[in-house]
Amino acid sequence: MKIGVFVCHCGSNIAGTVDVVRVAEAAKAMPEVAFASDTMYACSEPGQDGIIQAIKDKGLDGVVVASCTPRMHGPTFMRTVARAGLNPYMFEMANIREHVSWIGKDKEANTRKATDLVKMAVAKLAQNRPLFPSSFSINKRVMVIGGGVAGIQAALDCAEGGLEVLLVEKTTTIGGKMAKLDKTFPTVDCSSCILGPKMVDVAQHPNITLYANSEVEEVFGYVGNYQVEIRKKATYVDWKTCTGCGACMEKCPSKKSPDAFNEHVGRTTAINIPFPQAIPKKASIDRDSCTKFKTGKCGVCAKICPAKSIDYEQQDEMVTEDVGAIICATGYDLMDWTVYGEYGAGRYPDVITSLQYERLLSASGPTGGHIKRPSDGKEPKTVVFIQCVGSRDKSVGRPYCTGFCCMYTAKQAILTKDHIPDSESYVFYMDIRAPGKMYDEFTRRAMEEYGTQYVRGRVSMVYPKGDKMLVRGADTLAGTQVEVEADLVVLAVGAEGAKGSPQLAEKLRISYDSYGFFMEGHPKLKPVETNTAGVYLAGCSQGPKDIPSSVAQGSAAAAKVLGLFAKDQLQSDPQVSKVDIKRCVGCMKCAMTCPFGAIKELEHRGEIKAQVIETVCQGCGICTSTCRQGAIQLQNFTDNQILAEVNALLQSELEEA
């Protein structure tokens, strides 16, 4: 075999602490190396051209590039090698940047280590065999999980692009958090007026199937060919016949049921439609509040329903759907602010969350858009907003900035003045973070035109004093302590990943962080992809975002799916496990350890053998280390290849001794 070795300077990234010329010289002496040189930037166009030229001039059979991480540039160089006419798997990479030059300053030691890594790569490459991908067809349907604004946008864009879309939403209506907002910043336009038409589009689009009140139970398969089990939760109303007339809501006797859509500032009926613009506009029964379910007596809704849609016996229903890609847009939840003992930990009715305040401001909210404080229904004249409740606060485990609280607080302060002209608003803040288009101008308007008092400092304590809430805090610009007697206190509560995100992430086999947000493929260059092919992210499921960013990411995820589905066939990665049928004794230990369910039993001449489903195999290699016979081998990482690497390394150890 004729192997070529290219040692990259990476500017001073590698050459600064590794003697790359010496590494290249040493490579020349390695077995089967026919050519070795150092190169300034191997990944640059002239760098790649140099590799191609050398392959052609020297008739090389394989190439080792000693440079940076294969995660970043492995695919780049595999394409280079392929352009020169070699099989792309006749290529190995030695990571002498992250593993050597960036972590040590001793040039002598670094040079030795880099040489060892190159030696290992050469030894492995000498054992490489050409690998060829196989093709498989894809199912051009997409599932969007989460019907908030990001999910709606992604679903509509995919549907407009001609794809069949399944939109799975766990609550009884789509719209998500945006549907709960009264107005949006910085334009102060009505939230449901701009979202409503999009929600209707979802309902009417011929390519979109909406699964409301449904949750993803299980996900099997791989990119292009996923099978999804969806649980359609019982609503105790037949949605096929329910017309959404609302007669049941009018007559339902249990009128004090918890109202999740109104963030529990209002009460609703046990059978209800969450809000007038709900999509689908269908009633459902909250069985924890329903008298019929609790005592067996009542049944008023069944008697009154003109469409005879009430069905107290309804059960959850399981549906299996096949899709080729999944967009995850499950959004966020407010962090549990009742950990803040100093703000009353949920004990004071007149200390509410920002989202509860939105419902008080909203014309479709429990107070009809009149701001009334929860304790006595009085109109507040002094409202205090406290920012960063559960944002940028390590003490409650939320060190990150949620990013949209500064803006919605400014909006709520402006709206407060609009609703109650003789009111006063105070905002206790740490910094104002308003980096979007027209954002800083907006917060300034809150201060300058609407006279909102911005006080830079933390609030140490909120407590009731008579019928007022006393807010005690610091003004760190004036260097004094301040006390404000407020009628209502609104906490700008920070965001965390939606409840249940970790469980969903495990079903989708994607990563999530300690705050419940899903991890993108690369923080900069793969913002909507995940590390699982065919699964994409949109909106706040990836991190807190405002509406414009959520919509943009929804469209971006849709574009990724459309791009994926532009091909009729996908190629599978040939770096998968393969069974040597002669060696396999059919113990199926490999199948037991495979986390992806990629190994099935095969009957071969009357004997049980293991067989790898190539498209499901992720190339992790667990089966390889399990097999006592050495019968199952991960292609490109066979036992022989790994042993060759170890031998190459130990050989140099022996020489040093």
Binding site: E342, M461, P464
Partner: protein, 303 residues
């Protein structure tokens, strides 16, 4: 927990002077509840407020001497102190002495080495956790029905939470539950853990007049007839200085400020003299006279 509750008792300096009634009522209540308090022989100052501002080793040595003396006592499960300030010092020293190098430095200053293995608790914590409100209830001799109290814990009984490890540091409830158990009514009092001004009473009386004034104002506003405390310094600021506070803030509070042990003792049927009711500056008698004498529990504290 052994069936016999036996503790090393550390009264602290204020128990000998400004808060004799806290000490005497503590001893009496503990006896009535079956808790045996054995005073640590030859105990000395815990270091109080000044020592730790001067030298951490000295401060820990002062507290450590008392810890070491308690360790010599037989068959005691914990060190109890009524005073939150002593509690802080003893607990801080116990925590710091866990570091061997530091402990070695401190031991150089002591006659005998300290191991700091005995747990340190406030009397409030011991009554609440080792006896408990449910065990107090059947021993009530006289229900304190109709007595509306603002429970006030002071700023250091529960804080810092990692060190004190007792109750909720923003909204403690131990004293509330004990008062409820003897029939008194606790009003909502959100300033439970606010500062009373502490020892600023000496240097900057205006600070105490301001901070303690707020406490009295809110207690009165929320309908309390009296306050109930667990700290000698808080009690002194609120009770002894109440006239000064009234004069500075143009208020006219006549708010008795009890130690929780005094009210527990009263409910358990102990004598007013034993409980030191006569030591309070603001007379508690108008308030105590208002307690409805609805039935007695029959059993009584001393069976």
């Amino acid at each position: 927990m052994s069936s016999r509750l036996r503790y090393a008792y550390y009264p602290g300096c204020s128990a000998l002077g400004t808060s004799k009634e806290y000490d005497s009522s503590t001893r009496a209540v503990c006896e009535a509840l079956g808790m045996e308090l054995v005073e640590i022989p030859d105990w000395s100052c815990c270091g109080s407020s000044p020592a730790h501002t001067v030298d951490h080793r000295l401060s820990c040595a002062l507290a450590g001497r008392n810890l070491a003396l308690a360790e010599l006592m037989e068959d005691v499960s914990a060190i109890l102190t009524p005073c939150p300030s002593c509690l802080t010092n003893l607990k801080t020293a116990s925590a710091k002495l866990k570091k061997p190098e530091f402990a070695a430095e401190v031991n150089k200053l002591l006659d005998r080495p300290v191991r700091a293995t005995l747990p340190v608790k406030s009397v409030l914590q011991a009554i609440h956790e080792d006896v408990g409100p449910d065990a107090v209830r059947p021993k009530v001799f006289k229900w304190l029905t109709g007595l509306k109290l603002a429970p006030y814990y002071g700023c250091i009984m529960n804080r810092p939470p990692e060190l004190m490890a007792f109750d909720d540091h923003e909204n403690p409830v131990a004293m509330d539950q004990l008062m409820d158990a003897v029939g008194a009514e606790t009003v909502s009092f959100p300033l439970k853990v606010e500062c009373c001004g502490a020892s600023y009473g000496v240097a900057r009386r205006d600070i105490v007049e301001n901070l303690s004034g707020k406490l009295l104002d809110l207690a009165a506003l929320n309908g309390a007839q009296a306050m109930v405390t667990a700290c000698p310094l808080c009690q002194m600021n609120l009770d002894l200085r109440q006239d000064q506070i009234n004069a500075a803030n143009r208020t006219s509070h006549r708010m008795p400020v009890f130690y929780f042990t005094q009210l527990l003792g009263l409910a358990l049927g102990l004598g007013e003299k034993e409980l030191g009711m006569n030591k309070l500056s603001v007379s508690p008698h108008p308030v105590l006279a208002g307690i409805e004498s609805v039935g007695t529990a029959g059993k009584g504290a001393r069976q």
